[in-house]
Symmetry: C2
Subunit: 534 residues, 2 copies
């Protein structure tokens, strides 16, 4: 963390001379404007650091950024990188914020930014899918659907600026039906470290019209190998979409007491398992809701963790409970009404004192004008950036790490995790602010550790507690589904069954698919042989 971040750096193991040759080769293949070198185009390269780290830290400073504009240019980048042994780090839109943004795991890597490959290649109304390049953001995809007057909705995450491909490849989640994005991806095109291009599933066959309609071909499906990995660079992806429903009904369940958490979860589980609720619900807290209204200091001026008084005030002012579940129903009016009645009955019985609010709107009437608040928008495929307002929480320039363990969908597991996370996070001087994302059998307790990025001590406190929580949750048997680049080795170490047999399998695959170790070394704790030895 010593050198100034605008310094020219070279990739580890490379001489300045060889790196210069590699840069000239990149420029020859992609055009001068497509290659940005730290120390020369510093302001542009600066965009590729982690925006949520302390500005003075440079552990993840890239040596350069290359911006291919086509599959062929991606192939050229890979071949040049192999020739000169240049470690690459692929990023799509670069909005992997809270997990490192676009910054590479290894300082001095060359970032491969896919932003220029930004075409929506197909929208198939009949079969409800789109085909996108990595530089297509959720904003872009939704704008294209609107431009075409499409009847399809896309599942989107809370922030619309990220890449559809990048989100999916990092096991990201959105909130419509099909919101477990890795499960509703269908058909990839991938450039391998060899420079070869493969198409997965039915796409492995010339002219097969089922590439984006059927998830498997003949032989093992390899799509998931290119997610949360460093085994290839994805250049095209099919994403399944959802037909616009006759009726859209956003629902909220507000539970007044901290101790209601278990019951909220145990009440919805059967309704997720039996298909009454088909989207991806989220349980938020009063802290999260308060954070987008005004800074923390205007809510609470005392020392130490947020007290009961804060929760009471926030709940009263915002009309919320301590825990607030959001979900949505989609379908014909009579079916949505029947599902809503079941939800009401379940929560009336399951969580005494909770209250449910809902409204229904015709799917064709949903727009930015008619659906104005974030929870209603994000479950209807209307992307936004509203949650960025939470960055004001501590003042200064806000940032956060996301600590995201997974557990089976049972209230007792949520309680166990709360009991591990809250005291540690509060002891670090931060607030506990989980957004708990639900699938029918599991949940992700995504806990943003908000801080002021200009306050080095506070950023360091967040990093320190993150590392400690990786250890503590791991000891309790809970693994993280995703992680910040600084902690990927720690998280990988959680997965230690049978003397880390899975990590060793990953290494075997890595060495076979990328023998020179050029693709995103260290991602998810997977290192090439050359960086493992010694």
């Amino acid at each position: 963390m010593s050198a100034p971040v605008d310094d020219a750096v070279v990739p580890p193991g490379l001489s300045a001379e060889d790196f210069g040759k590699a840069l000239r080769a990149f420029a020859a293949a992609l055009g001068e404007g497509a290659v940005l070198r730290a120390g020369e185009a510093t302001e542009q390269v600066r965009e590729f650091r982690d925006p949520y780290s302390f500005p003075g830290w440079d552990d993840h400073w890239p040596a350069a950024v290359v911006q291919p504009g086509s599959v062929e240019e991606v192939q050229a980048v890979v071949r040049i990188a192999r020739q000169y042994r240049v470690p690459l780090w692929t990023t799509s839109m670069g909005k992997n914020n809270a997990y490192g943004g676009p910054a590479p795991r290894v300082r001095g890597s060359v970032v491969v930014s896919m932003r220029r490959m930004n075409r929506v290649l197909e929208v198939n109304e009949e079969l409800a899918y789109a085909v996108v390049e990595p530089g297509v953001s959720f904003f872009d995809l939704c704008a294209e659907l609107q431009r075409r007057a499409s009847r399809l909705w896309a599942s989107i995450p809370d922030l619309g600026w990220g890449s559809v491909v990048g989100n999916t490849l990092d096991h990201g989640v959105g909130y419509l039906p099909g919101g477990n994005h890795a499960d509703t991806q269908c058909g990839l095109e991938v450039v391998l470290a060899s420079g070869e291009v493969v198409r997965t599933g039915m796409g492995a066959m010339d002219g097969n019209p089922a590439w984006h309609a059927h998830r498997r071909g003949f032989g093992p499906a390899v799509d998931s190998l290119f997610m949360q990995s460093n085994f290839g660079i994805v250049t095209k992806m099919g994403k399944w979409l959802t037909p616009r429903p006759e009726v859209y009904a956003p629902v909220e369940v507000h539970a007044p007491r901290e101790e209601d958490l278990e019951a909220i979860i145990d009440t919805i589980r059967p309704l997720l398992l039996d298909g009454t609720v088909t989207n991806v619900p989220l349980i938020g807290t009063a802290v999260g809701a308060a954070s987008v209204t005004r800074p923390r200091a205007q809510w609470y001026s005392g020392d130490g963790p947020l007290p009961a008084e804060f929760y009471a005030r926030a709940a009263a002012e915002l009309g919320l409970g301590y825990w607030n579940l959001r979900l949505a129903l989609y379908g014909p009016a009579d079916i949505v009404d029947a599902q809503l009645a079941r939800l009401r009955a379940a929560y009336a019985a399951g969580v005494p004192g909770a209250w449910l609010t809902a409204r229904t709107i015709a799917g064709e009437d949903v727009s930015e004008e008619t659906v104005t608040i974030h929870p209603e928008r994000v479950q209807a495929g209307v992307p936004g950036l509203a949650l960025l307002d939470s960055l004001q929480w501590w003042g200064g320039i806000g940032g956060h790490l996301d600590f995201s363990p997974v557990a089976p969908l049972a209230g007792r597991h949520a309680r166990t995790l709360v009991n591990i996370l809250r005291p540690e996070i509060e002891r670090a001087g931060l607030d506990f602010w989980p957004g708990t994302i639900l699938t029918p059998r599991s949940f992700y307790m995504v806990s943003p550790l908000l801080y002021d990025t200009t306050n080095e001590a506070q950023v360091k406190a967040a990093y320190d507690v993150y590392r400690r929580l990786v250890k503590l949750t791991g000891e309790a048997g809970y693994g993280l589904y995703r992680g910040h680049i600084d902690f990927m080795d720690d998280i990988a170490a959680q997965y230690g069954w049978n003397d880390h047999a899975m990590l060793r399998l990953y290494q075997t695959l890595k060495d076979a698919l990328d023998p020179d170790g050029i693709l995103s070394p260290g991602k998810q704790g997977i290192w090439p042989r050359s960086m493992r030895e010694g």
Copy 2:
């Protein structure tokens, strides 16, 4: 196809002496009774040939069968096989019928039968899953659910005798919600060719309770690598189950005319995409329905393909249409009623002349006594063997190959495939009998080529037309999802995009994971290096 099938054979490339040593090593590790050698235990080994091939053919005759009883014994088998370079061929229950049954791709392989590993290790009522070993059949699993008075239903295929694991690993399909079994598998334990054991997803972490509740861990998900592949031997699998619904409503739609096929498909597509229909529907034909009633000769005694007269008679006698769609609805009574009304309205408008039949029954009342016909049973998780009656069709000892191309879920693709398949199959003297299995965006046109296995000319005609159809459908852009062992190389060749880039990727993975090439060589057209060269 020359040697008598009960001959003692040795694996290719092995001396009789070395093979004898290997067999003694297997017996030492597993016990004498767990090793069956062709030429000695011939009657027992005979069970491991393809039951649907002509009895005189011996292309797939195994040299021996080993039957491990535990994960440790599977590891021992793999290590011994590596030591002696013995090609193995893994089979679970061995009921991969129509695709080769338990028979190995390579004559002289040692079959690893997993039948002895037959425990249902867990049934989780709260999270709706079961954990099974490969020797658990659908009959076994459903019996165990019944024994526990479980409220969970398992998605099952048409025949109940097959392995839950084996079906899933071969991308098999069942007919309940979650019927795309590879998509509702969660968490594997796998013995690799190295003899090491890995657990996938959250199972890669010691004591993680989400192993069978959450489908991904940290890093790329490798589960699908062990499906339709020869990269490992699966020893445990989590299978997601479906809660017993309040109401179960099996539905049939009968369409009178051959030319209704497109409309049947195009009418249901929106109802699958919007979640009105959540199970896996199937479109059958009058031939299929007739085949389970009595032999072909009692339906039609003329020469040549089945004429219009046959279809008219079968439809009238059986109360069916030319095409017959089956599906089922699951849920609370009011919702099922609303869904049924939508189905009725859709087919009244979409397929003039079609008629819909349905009944509703409380989920808790469903049993073998109350649900007696195959379509109603198989969509409610009540396994059976009723469809085996179709083997009487040609007389003698019936068998079949299944020719199973996939296409996008649109009527025009089904028409194109019918136009390719029917004339070729009828020209071969066989009947065209597709069972078209529907997913929201694709279909499998599973076309059994029935024959009398004792009639060598007829079996050969089926094999010949199968090979020809692989070529013809491939040229038209449609790939097979699964295939008989004799045609795996032909089918793999269909997937030829970019000079067979996918096959070369499979070979790279194969060489890395199984450098000695001992695991199921040739499966899905994936050969180890030693068998590719020369």
